[in-house]
Symmetry: C2
Subunit: 397 residues, 2 copies
């Protein structure tokens, strides 16, 4: 099997490395050797062992009938979408690690592949190396999935872990994450929750079999979390994590990306540093969890290569993925139900006038108190919190 890799950055070069290091066992498991014939990139790579494979025009790949599988590791929706579509239309199977492309164009590309008895796979687009996409497709097929909740962004989980353990401020830990290469120069996609929002949209689409538009998902990042919030969390024996969550609610799903305070008993409470984890509740299976390196060159590349092996084994056989272009309607965010932790400078009487009975957390920061509300809708909370002086609030899980 001859393949092409589009994009010779971190993931693309990782794919080439995994194929090289584990060449023999991959050939055995795939049933035939897998050879990189082209690498598409704008740059040249003089001196690179794969220098001769570099091409600059994607049509070279489209027009070569020897190429059976194409890896897309460029990132972004365009030109990735144009290139991937052209590859599928030319009869080539495609695997991608690109969450933006999958969240936006997944249903369409899956349909194109199916019509042609090809495969469009995206095992590395969520959770890096954690096997979650294929298990959802092939292992949890006997279950109605009632909930899928994940820590899906390694950068913010690293930042929150350091803030929790060392009391570092958001600004300082962001600088450190950038210095370590975990966060981009422009960290918006991570710290504002845009990245996990795309990922939970993909997971929810797979769970419900319909198109979940990421624009419909209420998304809140971690930029407002302070070391005082962590002081409260410690006192409450909770951790603060950025969760991306989908819960079945009748015919709809209630989806949300936001920081949550997790009880010690929550299965995701101890997922620290750059690790990711996905919690799934099935109506028959009960609770299950998948855990691993959510990002990083080789773990992500390992998931891409697992797709390659699967596609070699399913040459000319479409592996059914239940994700139609029909739109899945989400529960209006204002109807989502949560408990809230609130920090306030108001008196207890004012708090209780607004919220009724609450649970107080005192003696953490001078001049303020914290309290935990009962479960209520977002709309209800928004109305009630207007009646007190609110310093900050975090949902509970």
């Amino acid at each position: 099997m001859k393949i092409a890799v589009m994009g010779y950055g971190t993931i693309g070069s990782g794919v080439v490395e995994v194929l090289e290091v584990n060449k023999d066992l991959i050939a055995e498991r795939a049933g035939e050797p897998v050879e990189v014939k082209y690498i598409l990139d704008l740059r040249d790579f003089p001196g690179d062992p794969y220098e001769k494979c570099i091409v600059h025009d994607y049509q070279t790949i489209v027009n070569d009938p020897e190429i059976g599988i194409v890896v897309e590791a460029m990132g972004g929706v365009e030109p990735a979408y144009t290139f991937v579509k052209a590859m599928l239309l030319a009869g080539k199977q495609v695997t991608t690690s690109n969450k933006n492309l999958v969240a936006e164009k997944g249903a369409e590309l899956i349909a194109i592949a199916r019509e042609r008895n090809l495969n469009f796979m995206f095992g590395a687009s969520v959770g890096g190396g954690i096997p979650i996409i294929r298990p959802l497709n092939t292992c949890l097929t006997a279950d109605e999935i009632e909930e899928i909740t994940g820590i899906l962004n390694g950068t913010t989980n690293y930042m929150l872990t350091r803030m929790a353990n060392e009391g570092v401020s958001f600004e300082d830990v962001l600088k450190d994450a950038q210095a370590k290469g975990y966060a981009e120069a422009d960290p918006t996609a991570d710290v504002e929750g845009i990245d996990p929002c795309r990922k939970i949209a993909i997971l929810t689409s797979l769970v419900c079999g319909k198109q979940v538009n990421y624009e419909d998902i209420y998304t809140e990042g971690i930029t407002k979390i302070t070391s005082e919030d962590f002081a409260y969390a410690n006192k409450m024996k909770r951790s603060i994590k950025l969760l991306a969550s989908s819960k079945q609610a009748g015919d709809k799903y209630a989806c949300m990306v936001a920081p949550f305070m997790l009880a010690k008993s929550h299965p995701l409470c101890n997922v620290n540093d750059v690790f990711n984890s996905v919690f799934v509740r099935g109506n028959m299976l009960g609770d299950a969890m998948f855990y691993g390196s959510g990002a990083g060159k080789l773990p992500t590349a390992s998931a891409v290569v697992a797709d390659i092996v699967d596609m070699v084994k399913h040459n000319n056989i479409n592996v059914f993925i239940d994700w139609s272009p029909e739109k899945m309607e989400l529960v209006d965010y204002k109807e989502n139900v949560n408990s809230f932790f609130v920090r306030t400078t108001s008196e207890k009487a004012e708090v209780e006038a607004a919220f009724g009975a609450v649970e107080y957390v005192e003696g953490v920061v001078e001049g303020e108190i914290g309290f935990v509300t009962n479960a209520m809708t977002e709309a209800d909370f928004a109305e009630k919190v207007e009646k007190v002086q609110c310093i900050s609030r975090i949902r509970l899980a």
Copy 2:
């Protein structure tokens, strides 16, 4: 697709229940409805909604060309082996939840299925509902698996969790586990580690692609663990878990089933009650973990039904499972390397004369001391421990 279920006990009736409750979504995912035509059991079930499906002779199923898939949920090697082999030879696909059958006859039944373009699947034989067998086959295919270690027995994990939290004795917690239905009247297979031994043999066979004989795996149960051991574990901030472990060692694997004292940072340290978990380390993927209900009617049945869905989708297509009958040689148990925690009535001078520098744990039980050795081979340890008065010893992980 018409199917037969052999054995109408806990798992078999669970399979029928899952197929009933999730009928519509299973039909959608499988691509066609799945209908139970026969249930093989020695008993009759008057009044049961499936009463008319009950048959007593497996030849009825063998000889019915309408039956495409057979579920084996009888347990034990015989007559399950005879029945399953007859089904495969008659052109029917088979899924089983029976770890004894798979550990003993897996390689042969996989080969028979492959020759006939059928499938023999066993997703529920290890880890109950946790998706681990199929991910090993289809998701971790880009990796050399360097380690696979699991908490694979829910009964003993429940018992150890209660002993840790409540200081209950082994005898009392065993009685409680039997009263709750977690442990059998004869608890030998669980408490002596026989059950997790079969399971790690299966997982290791899948990881190395060869036959691992469970008789070759050194196996130690939890019957000697006392509340004093837990007192030491608490002081050392460790938990005691029954681990089934395989580590790559050159061309061989070092396998062992035994209680271990786990550091808080160990990914399996917080797996409590009847939950199971499997930790995997790949040479590219790094660390990953799978967690869920390791036993129970519906979680196990969910995994069986996921196999059924996969087999409907792969009718007449063999899904390759890399497990040949060729024997995999294991590292001689005496060469396995571990650190040990030892309780002794000997003086420190004697301890140090035998082991050199050690780390002491004192003040837990009067009249004795505990110490932790450096890493050494089992043979080396066995020789050295002869030189001190040893009350008990547990390996560290």
